[in-house]
């Protein structure tokens, strides 16, 4: 039985007004996240994956317009005033960015920055805030926490800074954390440490995590469910195991075929031809059709909606590889040779 979703986006759209035209960055998105779930949002640049959540957090540029609904525990975040949104941000939901320095003040000691969140959002006294800050520094695995907490951000390495930012995000025990490419700028061994940390913390606190990434390997290691985005829309959504073993949408399948793996020797990979679409003048019909090997006439004319193809699985394709409602299942190679 599914509980009410923690975060529910319905018909969510973001457009940007630019001198070159209106950019349809996010287009009619439907998404939901259950409490305690780890959802990975996968896409390349231009897919809209970052902008979606920038919008939810109220961090969009001034030339952006949002529409639709973004409900956190029932409340539509898009209706809130900046002040109300401020209260929710940091307390009920927190964001972790690719560059830790977007969240850290280079001129303030770590301790002060952590403590500030606590005194502001949870009304703790200075003494209590400092104590809890130190505790959480240790919890996120920063060695010599007592010394480090007195330092400034530039004195810490990239990996440690990211840990501090995660610590800050956790301080108010939010129900939801959104991490936007949190490990992309880090070395692989440090990335592994940070992902381990995320896994432990989620297990311990029951926070829901939305992990935005382009790296399918990272997704496989952490996610319960995966939503694949392309050109501002979700084109596939499924549980991680199901998605990886049998993708339903050609884009997902093509993506998997185009990435090399560290654990397999292969002769070659199959690149996806062409480039991501122009969001000002998107193609008609399915946005992926110019690059799809299995394109049919209908794909060029009509845009496929995100529809259920199996229990718990959705795909936006007229000819998905799996379609239990129609009772068909095709292997990628067999379909449309």
């Amino acid at each position: 039985m599914r509980d009410a979703p923690l975060l529910a986006l319905k018909d969510y759209a973001i457009t940007f007004a630019t001198p070159d035209g209106t950019v349809q960055a996010v287009n009619g998105l439907d998404l939901s996240v259950q409490p305690g779930e780890v959802l990975a949002v996968v896409g390349e640049s231009g897919s809209g994956k970052s902008q979606t959540f920038n919008g939810v957090f109220g961090l969009l540029a001034r030339n952006a317009t949002t529409s639709g609904e973004a409900r956190l525990e029932g409340r539509n975040l898009l209706d809130l005033s900046p002040r109300e949104l401020d209260q929710i941000r940091g307390r009920d939901m927190a964001m972790v960015f690719q560059d830790p320095m977007t969240a850290l003040n280079p001129a303030m000691k770590i301790r002060k920055q952590l403590a500030e969140t606590l005194t502001v959002h949870r009304g703790l006294s200075r003494r209590e805030a400092n104590a809890e800050s130190l505790a959480i520094m240790k919890r996120v695995g920063i060695p010599e926490a007592e010394r480090r907490i007195e330092q400034y951000p530039h004195q810490l390495s990239g990996g440690m800074r990211q840990r501090v930012v995660i610590a800050m995000a956790l301080l108010c025990r939010p129900k939801l954390i959104v991490a936007d490419e949190p490990t992309t700028a880090l070395d692989v061994t440090i990335q592994a440490q940070i992902l381990d940390l995320f896994r432990d913390l989620i297990a311990e606190t029951g926070t829901a995590l939305i992990l935005i990434t382009h790296d399918l390997g990272v997704v496989a290691g952490v996610a319960d469910r995966v939503a694949v985005m392309y050109a501002g829309r979700i084109v596939e959504s499924a549980e991680a195991d199901a998605l990886f073993s049998r993708p339903a949408m050609p884009y997902t399948a093509a993506l998997m075929r185009s990435i090399p793996r560290p654990d397999q020797d292969v002769e070659a990979v199959e690149p996806i031809p062409g480039r991501p679409p122009d969001l000002i003048r998107p193609p008609t019909g399915c946005p992926f059709h110019p690059r799809c090997r299995f394109v049919e006439d209908r794909c060029r004319r009509e845009r496929p909606p995100l529809a259920e193809v199996a229990p718990g699985r959705q795909a936006a394709c007229w000819f998905p590889f799996i379609d239990e409602t129609a009772g068909t299942e095709t292997a990628p190679e067999a379909a449309h040779g």
């Binding site: 073993s245 998997m256 075929r257 397999q264 292969v266 002769e267 070659a268 990979v269 199959e270 690149p271 996806i272 031809p273 062409g274 480039r275 090997r293 190679e333």
Partner: protein, 305 residues
């Protein structure tokens, strides 16, 4: 999930990337000019400047008077439309409009030649110094520092005294002293340019040092150099005016804006038009150059990218 290198066709397709960029080829200069056209103040100033320049070049052919012949019938005459002396005449009966036009010609010529000298010398010197770096750079810049420390006007005056009041010497003197700041600016730009990857790429292709400076560094200096040159011209005009005001500028009967202003100031109370008109031209010239320089700076600003 199989990964395979089978389908020859699919791979071929994937090898191509023939999406052409839209529109016409857009060099950085073209982009900058487009941004400049959008700047209203700069565009208006361009027209004003063009007007002044064209007038200085061509208008003298259409005026019945020249800059040195006195009009015995009109001494110290105020401006009037009927007499044909639109700007009036001076103490010697010479038509002020003609004198202003000729004076503007001289001032502009000085400015252009001096700026050209300072750009050519400054760019070559600064780019070489910045690119070579190390001890050569230090030595070259110390030389510039020393030159800077010299009392500039004194130096010019000395030159004037030694070689006489020759207009061409004036150009040279001003130009040879303006290049210092240009050299510094260019050196600074070069220092940051030479760290950029396309310079490394040129070295990796086997291009020698001096060709790199000429083919890669100098063209990429266009932005700052053009901006600074445009802002230098007013400075030169003022310097020339100042020197002329002091009596070191052009010789009679030739005149320059500075000389006219100097003469006009003396008789301000009695014949205000002698200061007013040349002054107005000078101010218009300087203001429009300042707006154009500002506009160029905004147009070339890389942050816009």
């Amino acid at each position: 999930m199989t990964l395979y290198a089978g389908k020859r066709e699919a791979l071929e397709d994937a090898f191509l990337d023939r999406d052409m960029p839209r529109g016409k080829p857009r060099s950085l200069t073209r982009d900058a000019m487009r941004r400049l056209r959008a700047n209203k103040a700069a565009v208006v100033s361009l027209f004003v400047l063009a007007f002044i320049v064209l007038a200085a070049i061509f208008a003298p052919f259409f005026i019945p008077y020249d800059y040195e012949t006195p009009d015995w019938s009109a001494f110290r005459a105020p401006p009037s439309l009927e007499s044909g002396h639109y700007f009036g005449t001076d103490q010697n009966g010479r038509d002020l409009l003609a004198r202003t036009l000729y004076g503007t010609r001289i001032s502009l010529t000085v400015a252009i030649i001096a700026t050209t000298v300072s750009v050519v010398v400054g760019v070559l010197y600064g780019a070489t110094s910045g690119f070579l770096g190390g001890r050569i750079d230090q030595a070259m810049m110390r030389f510039v520092d020393v030159m800077y420390a010299l009392p500039y006007i004194l130096f010019v005056i000395l030159l004037m005294v030694m070689f006489g009041r020759n207009v061409f010497l004036l150009f040279a003197a001003i130009g040879l002293l303006e290049w210092l700041t240009m050299a510094r600016i260019v050196r600074g730009q070069t220092l940051s340019l030479k760290e950029r990857e396309f310079i490394e790429a040129a070295r990796a292709s086997g291009v020698a040092t001096f060709p790199i400076i000429l083919r890669h560094i100098v063209p990429n200096l266009v932005g700052p150099v053009v901006i600074y040159a445009t802002l230098t011209v007013p400075e030169i005009v003022i310097t020339e005016s100042f020197l002329s005001y002091l009596g070191f500028g052009v010789q009679e009967p030739l005149t320059s804006l500075g000389t006219l202003i100097a003469e006009g100031t003396d008789v301000l109370e009695v014949m205000p038009w002698l200061l007013l008109f040349p002054g107005a031209v000078l101010v218009s010239l300087l203001l429009s150059l300042a707006f154009i320089g500002d506009g160029l700076r905004d147009a070339f600003d890389p942050k816009d990218r």
